[in-house]
């Protein structure tokens, strides 16, 4: 009864979120005394799949049917359930696609789902997995009561460790037919060259304190320099200073980067709900009473228009000295 990791690639590279799923599956397999097998659907690079061995995957089942390159939650669900028929646990990322797939797989396999796990399971006695609830204000330890289990992990919630090894890649058919693909993709819009916010390890975010959309140049400069994604608060997205795709908070995206730098954001509870899983939070605000300082690790009480340019200069120096 192996553990299955569902793997996605983007431009022939396995997504970071899928590397996390592979590592989580391998660690879970170790706890259960079994092996971890990856499932990859559609177009993937064979060497990238074999390299999943470094994360503890022993075998990759690859159905190269190119129809999978156009995402369809029902077809992917059917394929996973077919290939995982003899497995006890399915692990996948709770990224955008995972949020569409995991609930379907849970129903199809009659397997209890943890939608957004943040830690490895406890397997002594009951099978228990923890997940954030109440927008990060609490952690719930869920027991999965079914023999089969689906664990959808929150992106960036565990640090992968690479070892040695290579996985055997085996061509398989997952048994889906053309009729299983019911979603027609008409067009795709991707901001090219930008780092996807929900996958980013570093995020620079700004809010109303910046006074107007014309002042975002320094935020983008800092983000580009650091290799960070940009984000914003709700009021700024609502008045269209910034695109909705950047809005983090309760009604926007929930992110948990390693570093979240918030400039000119007061830190309303709705905003914190989207970012309080960040490992390190830096807050820059003119108001020392801003509630965000209570959630911050590092605070700078000062004017964004003088602090951010200084931060850019300091980061440049740091970068120059560390290379």
């Amino acid at each position: 009864m192996s553990v299955i990791a569902y793997i996605e690639s983007n431009n022939n590279r396995v997504k970071k979120t899928s590397l996390e799923a592979a590592y989580y599956a391998a660690q879970t397999a170790k706890l259960l005394g079994t092996e971890a097998i990856a499932v990859a659907l559609g177009t993937h690079d064979a060497a990238e799949l074999a390299a999943l061995g470094q994360l503890g995957i022993t075998k990759v089942l690859h159905d190269a049917n190119a129809r999978f390159d156009s995402f369809d939650s029902g077809a992917v669900c059917k394929a996973i359930a077919t290939l995982a028929a003899n497995s006890s646990v399915v692990v996948l990322s709770y990224n955008q696609n995972g949020k569409a797939i995991a609930p379907r797989v849970s129903v199809r396999m009659k397997a209890g789902l943890i939608p957004g796990a943040t830690a490895l399971p406890e397997t002594n006695g009951d099978f228990v997995v923890s997940k954030n609830v109440f927008s990060g204000k609490a952690i719930a330890h869920y027991q999965i009561k079914t023999d089969k289990k689906v664990i959808a992990i929150t992106p960036n919630s565990l640090q992968i460790v690479r070892g040695e090894g290579s996985a055997a890649v085996e061509a398989v058919s997952s048994g889906v037919s053309d009729a299983d693909f019911v979603t027609v993709i008409k067009s795709e819009e991707k901001a090219s060259g930008k780092i996807a916010l929900t996958e980013a390890e570093l995020v620079v975010s700004a809010g109303r304190g910046l006074k107007g959309p014309e002042n975002w140049g320094m935020i983008e400069e800092l983000a580009n320099l650091m290799g960070a994604a940009t984000a914003c608060s709700r009021p700024v997205a609502d008045v269209h200073w910034r695109p909705h795709e950047e809005h983090v908070g309760q009604t926007g995206f929930t992110i948990r980067p390693n570093l979240y730098i918030a400039v000119g954001i007061s830190g309303a509870i709705q905003h914190l709900a989207g970012v309080n899983g960040s490992k390190t939070i830096v807050v820059v605000n003119t108001d020392p009473e801003a509630p965000f300082f209570k959630a911050a690790d590092y605070g700078v009480v000062g004017d964004a228009f003088t602090v951010v340019p200084k931060l850019i200069e300091s980061y440049k120096k740091f970068k120059a000295s560390s290379h």
């Binding site: 955008q96 949020k99 957004g116 719930a140």
Partner: protein, 245 residues
């Protein structure tokens, strides 16, 4: 066009989160409940807009005990035509999806529109589960939805962007920001909500998961304030102490 909109009630965002009975139960004392924002603002309002244009009806469905009725009436006041209450406290996501699918399976709904998540248990799971149970297409994290000629055209989030997809009706969509703007119920809506039909149906009890215990995240250590003139120090701390750059 017949549209079903599941709605949930959740603790208000500003509620204190605490637990009782050995941290196994959420402490509901002094908690103010609200309609789940993504249900109220996005899925319900978009369903109403579609019906206003295409004709048809919007049914809201909620799993909860009798004290949930005020939240169902609010959804009716915003404009839903009728409502169903599944007569049991909501347990796990699977159970709620099972009850909604059980109700919906023979009613001929063209669309089921859920909110992307509830703000209490943050599951993002009901929509996908209902779709699989009803064996229909599912599009998650939708920020726009148009319906024409038996098809739904949906803008859906992908990493770093969006894609426009088309699926046939009936289907399930999960709605997020961008889908619609919040509507405040007016006096006429509130008055008419009192007499709109509200059916109560029994619940199936099967669950796949349960919460054993809750705990609270480790308390944040006090913020370390950095001199705004000394950003070298901040960079150094991020590198050496926090180890994030």
């Amino acid at each position: 066009m017949k549209i079903l909109v599941p709605v949930s009630k959740v603790p208000d965002t500003t509620s204190k989160v605490a637990f009782t009975e050995g941290n196994t139960k959420f402490a509901t004392d002094n908690v103010t409940y609200i309609l789940n924002p993504t249900d109220e603002w996005y899925s319900l309002v978009r369903a109403l807009e579609i019906v206003e244009k295409e004709g048809g009806s919007v049914t809201v469905i909620h799993q909860g005990e009798a004290d949930s009725e005020q939240f169902i009436r609010k959804a009716l006041a915003i404009g839903a035509n009728d409502a169903v209450r599944i007569d049991a406290a909501a347990t796990d996501g699977y159970n709620v999806a099972l009850n909604i699918a059980e109700y919906a399976k023979d009613k001929g709904f063209d669309l089921v529109i859920t909110g992307k998540e509830t703000i209490d248990y943050n599951g993002f799971q009901i929509g996908g589960m209902i779709a699989e149970m009803l064996n229909v297409p599912y599009v998650s994290l939708a920020s726009s939805l148009e319906v024409a000629g038996g098809k739904a055209t949906v803008s859906r989030d992908i990493e770093g962007g969006k894609e426009i997809v088309e699926v046939s009706l009936p289907c399930v969509i999960s709605a997020q920001k961008g889908m619609a703007e919040q509507r405040i119920p007016n006096m006429k809506g509130i008055m008419s909500a009192r007499t709109k039909p509200l059916a109560v149906v029994p619940a199936l009890t099967e669950t796949l998961t349960s919460i054993k215990v809750y705990d609270l995240p480790a308390a944040k250590t006090a913020v370390k304030l950095i001199d705004p003139e000394n950003m070298d120090e901040l960079i150094n701390l991020l590198h050496v102490e926090a180890k994030v750059i």
